[in-house]
């Protein structure tokens, strides 16, 4: 059954028991973004210390794919340098574009999201958290994040 590819146990587990889902007081870096199609929303908080993502948490609401991806991301990225994290983001994107073969060591639970590739419209859900993280890290100056072009 095709649905097994997407609703794997590990995904549902991260969805129901999200890791690192909390505010991070005093975070140097934070960013919020939503998916305009569906309203899924993710905020990422990070302590960046000497070029390293020392601690990484998230808040948000949305579907199992967006929320589990965020949860897995906080596990996979924490402790890496900013550059390594951005590289990982690129590789994750590559996996979701069907271009990069995932590597268990680096990806950990994230490998489970590979099945989402077969559901093109859900890919945006899977990469949302990574978009936010990337934006947060690239743009440490802004505290409130990436809401573009407000009216008025």
């Amino acid at each position: 059954m095709a649905l097994d590819d997407i609703y794997k146990e590990v995904i549902l587990d991260h969805y129901k028991n999200p890791r690192n889902k909390r505010d991070l007081p005093g975070a140097e870096v934070s960013c919020t973004r939503n998916n305009p199609l569906c309203g899924d929303e993710i905020t990422v908080f990070a302590h960046v210390d000497d070029g390293t993502v020392a601690e990484l948490t998230f808040q948000g609401a949305g579907c199992s794919i967006s929320q589990s991806s965020a949860s897995m991301m906080t596990e996979a990225a924490a402790g890496r340098t900013v550059d390594q994290t951005l590289e990982l983001a690129g590789q994750f994107r590559g996996m979701m574009a069907g271009e990069v073969e995932p590597d268990d060591d680096r990806f950990g639970d994230l490998v489970a999201l590979k099945g989402v590739v077969k559901y093109p419209i859900r890919i945006k859900c899977a990469v949302l958290a990574w978009d936010v993280l990337q934006e947060a890290l690239q743009d440490t100056g802004r505290a409130t994040g990436a809401q573009p072009h407000a009216v008025g």
Binding site: Y7, C38, D40, E41, C63, S64, G152
Partner: protein, 409 residues
């Protein structure tokens, strides 16, 4: 037609032959866009094969045929809404463009500080954002009629919201997120009593129930052809004639002018002054065929069919433990049913239903204020039309159980 023969209707819709992994398409997203009967597809392509030319321009026979087809479509579509004077119908791409035309041509042209625009929290973004832009450009104030817990307009403080300062009331005839049919006549009367004009968003109502533009006494009424069996890019804005005479054109260009000088231009007659450049000729011809199709079914019969299926769907969904938004009484709602099933996120639910060939929408339905009002970021929405059956509802409900299993595991 006395009895509604849904099987005969279904045979007119080629797309219903599609299967996905062997499962027939169960299309429950007509609220987003309707499917098209062969008659409409053929009307549009016959125009290209036989009569295509630029309307209103050519002196040759083909050009006359194109003009007749285009203006014939205008009369036909106006008549669908009970309007005999075809010059009261301005063609547009659909509801969004129609509302923006009023927002630019009336709102920006006539509002200022101290004026108020009143809309409802039930509106589609297309009847909110244009008015926000008007308010920002003119200094007018944008106010909202709220919603009750049951998904109705909260009219308890209407006397406070609607007053001498109110210049425009924008209201949907039927909510695309909740299904609610609004008490239009009451609102129109109240607005007229204080001298406000009423802009009705009929995107959802026009396809699904009889609408009598003049019975309603609406000032402007916007609709989309693609939601009422017509081609994409068809639709229009109906208006009282004397308001069109005062509406300012939005777009400059060919065919909307009478004379052009270096520094200024003069306008063509109504409604042509609002139709700048080459319009969606073949598409409006297709929409006229859609009006023929719907009138042959009879809009009362269409409404009755949808009431039946909606009643059935709501009952079955509630039985299955779903939370259904909006009114449950089919007298005051259309066939658009928003719900949550257990705590399965709408996206997940839609993906699982899709595996069974069932097409439902999941999201905020371009009605974020409604979502926020009821404290949810999204719902699943099943919306019914002439080609849907109770058996399809059964399939929907059976598939919900399956989704429950996956998320319970």
């Amino acid at each position: 037609m006395n009895t509604f023969d849904v099987e005969a209707v279904r045979r007119d819709f080629p797309i219903l032959e599609r299967t996905f992994d062997g499962k027939p398409l169960v299309y429950l997203d007509s609220g987003a866009t309707s499917q098209k009967p062969a008659q409409v597809i053929e009307a549009e392509s016959a125009f290209y094969r036989l009569h295509n030319a630029n309307a209103h321009r050519g002196i040759y026979t083909l050009g006359e045929e194109a003009t007749e087809a285009y203006e014939g479509a205008r009369s036909r579509i106006a008549r669908f809404f009970g309007v005999e004077d075809a010059s009261r119908l301005v063609f547009t791409r659909g509801t969004t463009e129609s509302i923006n035309l009023v927002a630019y041509g009336w709102g920006r042209a006539s509002l200022g500080e101290g004026d108020e625009i009143l809309i409802t929290e039930m509106e589609h973004h297309s009847n909110i954002v244009p008015w926000q832009l008007v308010a920002q450009a003119t200094g007018a104030r944008l106010r909202y009629i709220g919603l009750t817990d049951d998904g109705l307009l909260d009219l308890s403080n209407l006397g406070e919201l609607l007053g001498d300062r109110t210049k425009i009331l924008g209201v949907t005839a039927m909510s695309n997120a909740l299904g609610t049919i609004t008490p239009l006549k009451q609102l129109v009367d109240a607005a007229h009593a204080v001298g406000a004009i009423v802009v009705v968003d009929a995107a959802q109502a026009a396809p699904h129930m009889p609408l009598d533009m003049d019975g309603l006494e609406a000032d402007f009424l916007a609709f989309s052809g693609h939601k009422m069996l017509g081609p994409t890019a068809s639709g229009g804005l109906l208006a009282k004639r004397e308001l069109l005479d005062r509406l300012q054109p939005m777009f400059g260009g060919g065919d909307m002018i009478r004379e052009v000088f270096h520094d200024h231009a003069t306008w063509n007659d109504v409604p042509y002054r609002f139709e700048a450049g080459t319009m969606q000729v073949a598409q409006q011809v297709g929409l006229a065929a859609a009006c023929d199709y719907l009138d042959a079914l009879g809009m009362e019969a269409v409404r009755a069919h949808e009431v039946e299926i909606t009643r059935y769907a709501i009952d079955r969904l509630l039985e299955a433990g779903a939370v259904v938004y909006g009114p449950k009484d089919t007298d005051i709602r259309g066939g658009t049913v928003s719900f949550w099933y257990h705590d399965i996120h709408p996206h997940d639910l839609a993906t699982i239903l899709n595996e069974e060939g069932i097409a439902v929408r999941a999201g905020h339905h371009c009605a974020q204020l409604v979502m926020r009002r009821y404290g949810t970021p999204a719902t699943v929405r099943a919306s019914f039309y002439v080609y849907n059956t109770n058996e399809e509802v059964d399939l929907l409900v059976a598939s919900l159980a399956r989704a429950g299993d996956i998320f319970a595991s």
